[in-house]
C-alpha cells in the first residue's frame, strides 16, 4: 500500500512502509491479538461487502456505508488513543489530536529501544531536531528530558545542534565513551584499530616480571575546581555516505572513536607544518581498513567546529585541506564537496559560530580553487527569505570570496539568477559631492576642506575651516552640547573620502589628522557620531569598516564602549544579521581584553622587578643591574591605569548585554502586541549572537556573573532572554 506521509513530498521517492506480522516475533499468544496485519486482514474481510471503492476505510453507520473522510479517521484514532489511556492507568494525556499519534508512537518506540534512525525513517523525518523539539513531548518530564538527550546523543549526523549550552550535552561525550568502553570489555577488549607491536614479543613478555599497577584514585570534587567545558561528539558521515571501499565504522563504535583520536593526535602534533600534517594523515597506518578520506574530513571539521573556540587558527585547517587535495586530487576534493553539501543541508540547526567558521573556510577554500562551485545546485535558496540560514550562508560566502578577490570576479562565478545574493560593489559614498548636495548645510565647508587638505594644510588650519559651522544641537543660550555632529560629519566624511583609494591612504589621513579627530570626538556621543559618519561613507564596503574601526580603536580616537553603543543603535539594527557587524563586535571585545592583559603584565613585571631589587638590597648585594627599578609610586600609577581599563572592560560587557536585552525585549513586545510570531529569522540570529558573546568570552563574562544577575538578567525580563543567561550559568555549574 502506498501513501504520502505528512513530511513526504511527491518528488522524493516513496519509502514503502513495511509492517511485519507479529507471529514472527510474539511469544505470548495474547500479543498476537494486537498484530496489525491480522487486524487489517480481518477488517478487509469483514468490510468486503460494504466497500464500494478502492479506499480502505468505510464508515460504519447502519445502512449508510461510505468512504471514511479524513475527519472520521482522525476521530477514530483519537477515540482509540483515549480509550487506550483511559484503560491504562496513566493520565498524562489531556488533549489528543489524531496527528499526535506521530509523537506518541515514536516516543514510545524510542523508550522501547528502537534506534533513532529507525524512528526517523518510519516517520519520514529528515533530522532529529524535528523529532526532539516538536514531537517528543507528551511523555513525563524526566523521561522526555532523558529521551531528548538520548536521541541527540545517538543522532548520527548531528553535529551542530551543538547546543553546548544545554547541560544534557555535557554527559554526551563521556557517557558515550563510557558505554563504548563497557562494550569493549564485554567483547574481551578486542578491536582492530590499535596497533599492538608487543604481540610480536609475546614469548618474552609472558615470562617477564609482572608489575602490579597502583590503583588510580580520582581527586574528589571541591568548589575551587574548574572543569573543562562540555564537548560534543561530532559525526558528519554515515556509512551510507561512503560509496565504495572499506565500511565506515558505526558512529558509536569504539573503532570510530579510536581512529578519531589518532587522527586528532596527528593534527595536533603537526600543527606547525601543514604539509607534514597532510602527509601524515594520509599515511595513517590502518588506512586500508577504513575510508580514510572520510574520517580525515570528519575529524578536521570536528576540530574546526569545536566550541567555544577552535583549538588552532582556522586557517591551519583550511590550508591543510588544500594540501590534502593536492596530495589526493582524485578523491579528496569529492569528499570535501560531499561534506560541504552535508553541512549546507544542516545549516538550519547549526550553531552560529560554526556557520561563521564554515563560511570563512568555504570562501577561503574556493579562493584556492578558482572559485569553482556548482552554485546552481543551491538555487532553491533564491526563493527563500534571504535572512534564512541557507541563503544567508551563500551571501556571506560570496562576500568573503569578494574580499579575497574582487567584485567582478564574483559576478562572473555565479549565474545571473544569483544576483540577489551577490554583494554590492564596495564603493565610498561622499554626500557632499553628490547631486543636490548644495542644499546640505556642510557642503561649502566640505569643499573648502578638500581644497585645503589637497594643498597640504596643517591640521590646525582645518580646525579653522570647521570653526564656523553651527552646531545643530545648540538651542538658544543653553549650555554647549556634548558634541558637534555637523563638524564631525563634514570632517570625517571628507577625510575618508580623500583617503578612499586604499587602506593605507585612509590610515595616513587618520594619522595626519589624529589630533583633530580626538578633539572632535572627545565625548562618547561624538565618537558614536564618528562611527555613524564612517558607516554613511563606507556602508557598502564591509571590510573597510572593519579595518577602520580597528584603526580608530588602536589610535584611541574612539573607545570600545562607543563601538558597542553604535552597533546597537537603531540604524544599525537592519545590519544585525550581517556577519561583519559581529566581526567588529568581537574584535572590539578582544582588543579591550588584550589591552587589559597588557597592563596587567606590566604591573606584574614592575612588581617583580621591585621585589627582586629589594631582595638584593636586603642581601647586601650591590645593585649592578642596569635596568631601571620602578618606584612604588610608578607602580601605583600603573595599577590605577589597570584599574581604569578593567572598569572600562566591565562596562563594555554590561553595555553589550544591556543593549541585547533592550533590542530583544522590544522585538518580543512588538510581536506580542501585533500578534505575530516572535521567532523571525532576525530574532534567531540576534538571540544566537547573544549566546555567542556568552560562549566566546565565557572566562571574562563569568567574572561579572553576579553583577549580571542582579542588574541585568533579572526575573522581570522576558523568559526567552533570561533562558540564555540561565543556560550559560548552567554551563559552569
Amino acid at each position: 500500500m502506498q501513501f504520502l506521509a505528512k513530511t513526504q513530498t511527491l518528488n522524493k521517492p516513496w519509502e514503502p512502509v513495511f509492517i511485519p506480522k507479529f507471529e514472527n516475533y510474539a511469544t505470548d499468544p495474547n500479543d498476537l491479538l494486537l498484530c496489525p496485519c491480522r487486524a487489517l486482514l480481518a477488517y478487509i474481510k469483514r468490510t468486503e461487502v460494504l466497500r464500494k471503492s478502492q479506499r480502505l476505510f468505510v464508515t460504519y453507520q447502519k445502512n449508510h456505508h461510505v468512504e471514511a473522510s479524513k475527519n472520521s479517521i482522525a476521530r477514530w484514532i483519537v477515540n482509540t488513543v483515549k480509550y487506550a489511556y483511559e484503560h491504562a492507568d496513566t493520565d498524562t494525556l489531556q488533549f489528543v489530536r489524531a496527528h499526535d499519534t506521530r509523537k506518541l508512537s515514536t516516543s514510545w518506540a524510542l523508550f522501547n529501544g528502537l534506534s533513532s534512525q529507525e524512528i526517523l525513517r518510519a516517520a519520514h523525518w529528515s533530522n532529529e531536531t524535528t523529532f526532539t523539539s516538536y514531537y517528543l513531548k507528551d511523555v513525563p518530564d524526566l523521561e522526555s528530558r532523558f529521551a531528548k538527550a538520548a536521541i541527540l546523543h545517538t543522532a548520527n549526523r548531528r553535529q551542530k545542534k551543538y547546543f553546548i549550552f544545554l547541560i544534557i550535552k555535557y554527559f554526551q561525550y563521556l557517557d558515550c565513551l563510557w558505554s563504548q568502553i563497557k562494550n569493549l570489555r564485554a567483547n574481551k577488549w578486542a578491536e582492530k584499530q590499535i596497533t599492538r607491536p608487543y604481540l610480536a614479543f609475546d614469548g618474552v613478555l609472558c615470562e617477564a616480571l609482572q608489575h602490579t599497577l597502583p590503583q588510580i584514585i580520582p581527586p574528589s570534587h571541591n568548589d575551587e575546581m574548574s572543569y573543562p567545558l562540555p564537548r560534543v561528539i561530532f559525526r558528519m558521515f554515515d556509512y551510507t555516505d561512503v560509496p565504495e571501499g572499506p565500511v565506515l565504522p558505526g558512529s558509536h563504535a569504539i573503532e570510530r572513536y579510536l581512529i578519531e583520536e589518532q587522527l586528532r593526535r596527528i593534527i595536533f602534533k603537526h600543527a606547525f607544518d601543514r604539509k607534514d600534517c597532510a602527509a601524515s594523515l594520509l599515511s595513517y597506518p590502518m588506512k586500508n581498513k577504513v575510508p580514510l578520506n572520510y574520517m580525515i574530513v570528519e575529524v578536521m571539521f570536528g576540530e574546526l567546529f569545536l566550541l567555544p573556540r577552535c583549538p588552532r587558527l582556522e586557517i591551519y585547517y583550511g590550508s591543510t585541506f588544500i594540501e590534502l587535495c593536492k596530495l589526493q586530487p582524485g578523491s579528496m576534493p569529492q569528499v570535501l564537496a560531499q561534506a560541504t553539501e552535508l553541512l549546507f543541508e544542516r545549516l538550519d540547526s547549526m550553531n552560529l559560530s560554526c556557520i561563521e567558521r564554515l563560511t570563512n573556510w568555504f570562501a577561503y577554500h574556493l579562493s584556492n580553487f578558482q572559485f569553482r562551485w556548482s552554485w546552481d545546485d543551491w538555487s532553491s535558496c533564491l526563493q527563500m527569505d534571504p535572512e534564512l540560514p541557507k541563503p544567508k550562508f551563500i551571501k556571506e560566502v560570496l562576500i568573503k570570496c569578494m574580499r579575497l578577490s574582487y567584485h567582478q570576479r564574483i559576478v562572473e562565478t555565479c549565474t545571473e539568477d544569483f544576483a540577489p545574493l551577490i554583494p554590492e560593489k564596495p564603493l565610498s559614498h561622499f554626500k557632499y559631492e553628490k547631486e543636490g548636495s548644495g542644499s546640505l548645510p556642510g557642503t561649502m565647508t566640505a569643499h573648502q576642506l578638500i581644497q585645503a587638505i589637497k594643498s597640504k594644510c596643517t591640521p590646525e588650519e582645518t580646525m579653522g575651516i570647521l570653526k564656523d559651522l553651527p552646531n545643530p544641537l545648540k538651542e538658544d543660550d543653553e549650555t554647549d552640547p556634548t558634541y558637534h555632529p555637523l563638524r564631525i560629519d563634514v570632517f570625517v566624511s571628507t577625510l575618508l573620502h580623500l583617503g578612499n583609494k586604499s587602506f593605507s591612504h585612509s590610515f595616513a589621513a587618520i594619522a595626519k589628522f589624529h589630533h583633530i579627530l580626538k578633539l572632535l570626538a572627545d565625548t562618547e556621543e561624538g565618537q558614536i557620531w564618528v562611527l555613524r559618519t564612517m558607516f554613511e561613507v563606507w556602508r557598502s564596503h564591509q571590510q573597510m569598516m572593519v579595518v577602520l574601526v580597528d584603526k580608530l580603536l588602536k589610535t584611541q580616537i574612539i573607545e570600545p564602549s562607543a563601538v558597542a553603543n553604535w552597533l546597537f543603535s537603531s540604524e544599525m539594527q537592519p545590519e544585525f544579521t550581517k556577519f561583519y557587524v559581529w566581526e567588529i563586535m568581537h574584535s572590539t571585545i578582544t582588543k579591550m581584553s588584550k589591552h587589559v592583559d597588557k597592563l596587567q603584565k606590566e604591573v606584574d613585571d614592575a612588581k617583580d622587578k621591585l621585589d627582586a631589587y629589594k631582595r638584593r638590597i636586603n642581601d647586601g648585594l650591590e645593585d649592578d643591574d642596569d635596568d631601571e627599578v620602578p618606584t612604588e609610586s610608578l607602580i601605583e600609577r600603573m595599577e590605577e591605569r589597570l584599574d581604569l581599563a578593567q572598569n572600562q572592560q566591565k562596562r563594555l560587557f554590561l553595555i553589550i548585554f544591556q543593549r541585547f536585552i533592550m533590542v530583544l525585549s522590544d522585538h518580543l513586545a512588538n510581536c506580542e502586541s501585533n500578534g505575530i510570531d516572535y521567532s523571525t529569522p532576525w530574532y534567531k540570529w540576534c538571540i544566537e549572537r547573544l549566546q555567542q558573546i556568552f560562549l566566546l568570552h565565557h572566562e571574562l563574562v563569568y567574572r561579572y556573573i553576579s553583577t549580571l544577575e542582579t542588574l541585568l538578567f533579572t526575573s522581570d525580563i522576558d523568559f526567552h532572554i533570561l533562558e540564555i543567561f540561565q543556560q550559560f550559568c548552567a554551563l559552569r555549574s
Partner: protein, 165 residues
Amino acid sequence: MSGTVLTSLKRKYSQAVGLSSYRDQHFKGNRTDQEHLLLLSTTLYVGNLSFYTTEEQIHELFSKCGDIKRIIMGLDKVRKTPCGFCFVEYYTREDSEHAIRYINGTRLDDRIVRTDWDAGFKEGRQYGRGKSGGQVRDEYRTDFDEGRGGYGQIIATKIKTKDSV
C-alpha cells in the same frame, strides 16, 4: 651577536618557518646581523603577487594569521604602480610565523604566493629594483604572465622593436 645564540635561535624554528637561502644583497651590515634580524623579525616579504592584487585582498588573507600592523605595497620605481610584491608587518613574531606556515605556497588571486622573512622595512625598499622599475625577476622572465604585465621586460622590448621593424 654571538654565533651560538644565532645557532640556537635557528634551531628553535621548525622547518616551515626557518630562513630560506635568499639574503637581501642591499642589506647594510654583516651576514650575522642580518640573520639575527631575520630570526626575530615580524615582517614578511610577500612575492609572486599579481600586479592587480590590492592591499585589501592581502589584508584579508594575512589577517587570518593575526593582527596586522601595516602593509607596504611594492611599487614600480618609475610608474609608482604595484609591481607584484609587498611587505606585511605583524605585531608579534608568532603571528608572522603563522603566516609563513599557513599562507606560503597557497593562492591569492589565483596565484601561488611566496612568503619569506624580511629584516624590516626601510624607506626605499618599497620600490622595484629592476632596471625598468619593476622587480628584477620581471626583467628576465621569458614566460607570458598576464598578472605581471605579460612578458619579461627584456623580451617585451625585443618584441616591440621587432614589431616596429
